[in-house]
Symmetry: none
Subunit: 238 residues, 2 copies
């Protein structure tokens, strides 16, 4: 036996193959038996290497099916300005947004407080699903003060873009004032909407966007599929 264990060399070899694109996300690796044969080691030695890769989240084994390269969790930068479509497109993934609900109703207590509205004020609600490469990434629900943005729903229906809808109301620039992140198991309905197994972990963010004067213009709540998303804070984000 050399300096370092045999299985580490195998792990590194497979890691490099994945990094080089030899095995792409979603691909199935050769079977354990084939890998053992190729590297000239016992199947258990391969399994030790695969166990390390699985622990690091690079691959995922399915009994009877094979070992698969994981999709890297979709990076979702949390910055002053979130650009969902640009970021996903830059990552080579196909972004999609599906409208689930557009309505106007009375703000509840939490919404009224966050948006600094009086009780009983009306808000527009925009609820939808964000997808990448066809897989649901997040369920979002945004509320806007109806008095200030009277045509919000129509604007959202045509563009699906919050930024564009704000621009249609003369609001060119808005920034994120506060974000709160928690985690909890998915409720059955939420799991179904995100196409996750029941009880899967959910990343919940609550964010408030404000205009240039600091007035709240949007309360956005998002429920991310915990294993499909990695919220990232870049250096500029701290």
């Amino acid at each position: 036996m050399g300096r370092s264990p045999l299985w580490t060399a195998i792990r590194d070899h497979i890691t490099e193959d994945i990094a080089r694109g030899q095995y792409a996300p979603g691909d199935r690796l050769p079977t354990e038996a084939q890998l053992a044969d190729r590297f000239g080691v016992n199947r258990h030695t391969v399994r030790r290497a695969l166990a390390d890769l699985a622990e690091a989240g690079m691959v995922h084994a399915r009994r009877g099916a094979g070992v698969f390269v994981r999709h890297r969790p979709t990076a979702y930068p949390l910055g002053r300005r979130v650009r969902f479509h640009q970021n996903l497109t830059a990552a080579g993934r196909v972004p999609e947004r599906r409208i689930l609900l557009l309505e106007t109703r009375i703000a509840n207590a939490e919404e009224a407080e966050a948006l600094q509205l009086e009780t009983g004020a009306q808000v527009h609600v925009y609820e939808g699903l964000s997808l990448a490469d066809g897989a649901p990434i997040a369920l979002f629900r945004s509320v806007f003060p109806a008095a200030r943005f009277p045509n919000m729903l129509a604007a959202l229906r045509s563009s699906q873009s919050v930024t564009a809808a704000f621009a249609a109301h003369g609001l060119g620039d808005y920034t994120r004032a506060r974000t709160e992140i928690t985690a909890k198991p998915a409720t059955p309905t939420l799991a179904a909407q995100l196409q996750l197994p029941a009880g899967a972990a959910i990343l919940r963010t609550v964010a408030v966007n404000v205009d240039g004067a600091g007035l709240p213009v949007e309360l956005g709540r998002t429920w991310f599929a915990g294993d499909r998303v990695a919220l990232t804070l870049g250096a500029e984000g701290l």
Copy 2:
């Protein structure tokens, strides 16, 4: 073989023994051979159980010496809900901090890549528990390049502060280069350490700190109890 694998029963048995105080923090477990004999299984089956416990940080194996129980919190204020808002920028300031492990070892692949070390390089590991009002909030594990910070462990042992330990090595200023946040259900052992029900949601953050020149100095991984913590990002934090 029954419904669930043999090794899980052995893992749970040992977990309960530790919880009951049969094996106290710092104690050495019986040898793998003794455990195999006691449970009437092969030594490898015991090793599979121990590997699971080690991965979650409940025990720690030292070649030639034995398997040791890590320090865990004793008090368990049941049903106590802690309201705790931790700001990421002030992540180093928590009411209480408990050291679970201080050791030096070879960096694994993920750590070596994040810290830009060559494979086989040594790292110092600082693992501990953050608590508020006696309830566990988060488990953290930080690794530092050993070559650059030779006295890290001693500095951490005396101060418990990463900032102070860096300062003792002449590093006055360091910044967060990248933070990644994901969510997933707690493993049984992690749930035990954070005193959560099995399957509870975990907020996992991975952060890299760099010095003024942009060189990585710390890879910090933290597992937050999803329902006891709300990570908040203020406007100044974006």
